[in-house]
């Protein structure tokens, strides 16, 4: 019995270690950057969407001001909204506010990084280097892993050929 438990434990550990080290987390100052990822893009696409979760573990407000990447001409922080079947996108001119203790998700349907003027399509599995600039925490280099969006509840998996 004891041995069986040990075996299960070993198997679980092996499984945990074998998980793809695709997306990683970063930290700069009090800001955690979790799982930066980007959508794969189609052949003629000039724009891409980047996503991540930002956590302000500090006691003072901070702000994601902007960023840059060699993969695109322009790096903008956008907010998308849907109302009455109409999609709207707005650039956040003041950046994205991160209150003390706040977790802010950049995810499909909401805040996102808009990469405009891609130098080439973003292919599944690639890593897109970028620099994020925070008002207080300063700059940090991260990599956006290109991966498929998770299927929405009740939806189906999307595939980009």
């Amino acid at each position: 019995m004891q041995r069986r438990h040990l075996f299960s434990l070993a198997a679980a550990l092996a499984a945990a270690i074998a998980l793809p080290a695709a997306a990683r987390d970063y930290k700069v100052g009090a800001i955690q950057i979790q799982h930066p990822w980007a959508r794969p893009t189609s052949a003629g696409a000039q724009v891409g969407g980047g996503y991540m979760t930002l956590v302000n573990t500090g006691k003072t407000p901070d702000r994601l001001l902007d960023g840059s990447t060699p993969a695109a001409r322009t790096f903008e922080i956008h907010e998308m909204s849907m109302a009455g079947g109409i999609m709207k996108m707005r650039r956040l001119d003041q950046g994205l506010a991160l209150a003390p203790g706040a977790t802010v998700a950049l995810k499909p349907g909401g805040y996102h990084i808009m990469l405009i003027g891609l130098s080439k399509p973003l292919k599944l599995g690639e890593k897109v280097p970028a620099t994020l600039r925070f008002e207080k925490a300063g700059e940090v280099k991260v990599e956006f892993t290109v991966e498929q969006p998770q299927a929405p509840a009740g939806g189906h998996q999307h595939g980009m050929r």
């Binding site: 959508r39 893009t41 189609s42 052949a43 003629g44 696409a45 000039q46 724009v47 891409g48 969407g49 322009t74 903008e76 956008h78 998308m80 849907m82 079947g85 109409i86 999609m87 709207k88 996108m89 707005r90 650039r91 001119d93 499909p108 349907g109 996102h112 808009m114 990469l115 405009i116 929405p152 009740g154 939806g155 189906h156 999307h158 595939g159 980009m160 050929r161």
Partner: protein, 194 residues
């Protein structure tokens, strides 16, 4: 007590309206007049061929509006449409699927061709002059607006629904953005069955 009664009345009204809308879409027998491609609009598809209201006749059509500088909604809708066509099997040939750009300044037929190469080849891309695209969108009651984001960049606000048209080019009903796959495919099957 009165308040509770009001709540129940309000709930009944909501339920009745929702029920009517669902019934209306499911029944699929009535068409909505006045929504469709104006007869005088002249557009060009992504292979450089002319595209007119005649292209929406003879077969039912699923038509939607977007632009290629769109990071999320448009590629998702195009992928969803591809998956729905797959699900239809051979019946997919009985349907026109059309993607109309509302950003003709950037989305030339050539740009549409490059973009659509990543999606189901049965999807036909359509562009035109800004004036003709404006008339087209008006014909479908499609809202779109150019929004400057600074530094010379811009994006587009736009309606996201897929419009289902019968074989005579008359509007039958919509498929909403990211509507569940089974419901959307069922709507397309009913459209094809006529």
């Amino acid at each position: 007590m009165v308040r509770r009664g009001l709540w129940i009345a309000a709930a009944l009204v909501v339920a009745a309206v929702a029920g009517y809308v669902v019934y209306d879409m499911r029944a699929n027998t009535s068409t909505v007049p006045g929504i469709g491609m104006p007869a005088d609009v002249r557009l060009t598809d992504h292979r450089g061929r002319p595209f007119t209201a005649a292209d929406l006749k003879g077969k039912p059509t699923a038509i939607f509006f977007g632009f290629t500088y769109c990071p999320e909604i448009c590629p998702t809708t195009l992928l969803d449409m591809g998956a729905r066509l797959q699900a239809l099997g051979d019946d997919a040939d009985k349907l026109n699927v059309v993607f109309v750009t509302i950003d003709p300044e950037r989305d030339t037929p050539r740009q549409l061709a490059a973009y659509l190469s990543s999606f189901d080849p049965r999807i036909r891309g359509v562009s035109g002059t800004p004036e003709q695209i404006g008339k087209m969108a008006k014909g479908f009651r499609v809202y779109y607006r150019k929004v400057e984001t600074g530094g010379g960049e811009y994006t587009m606000d736009h309606s996201t629904a897929v419009y289902l048209m019968d074989a005579k080019g008359r509007f039958v009903g919509p498929i909403g953005y990211q509507e569940p796959a089974d419901r959307a495919v069922a709507s397309l099957k009913r459209l094809i069955a006529g």
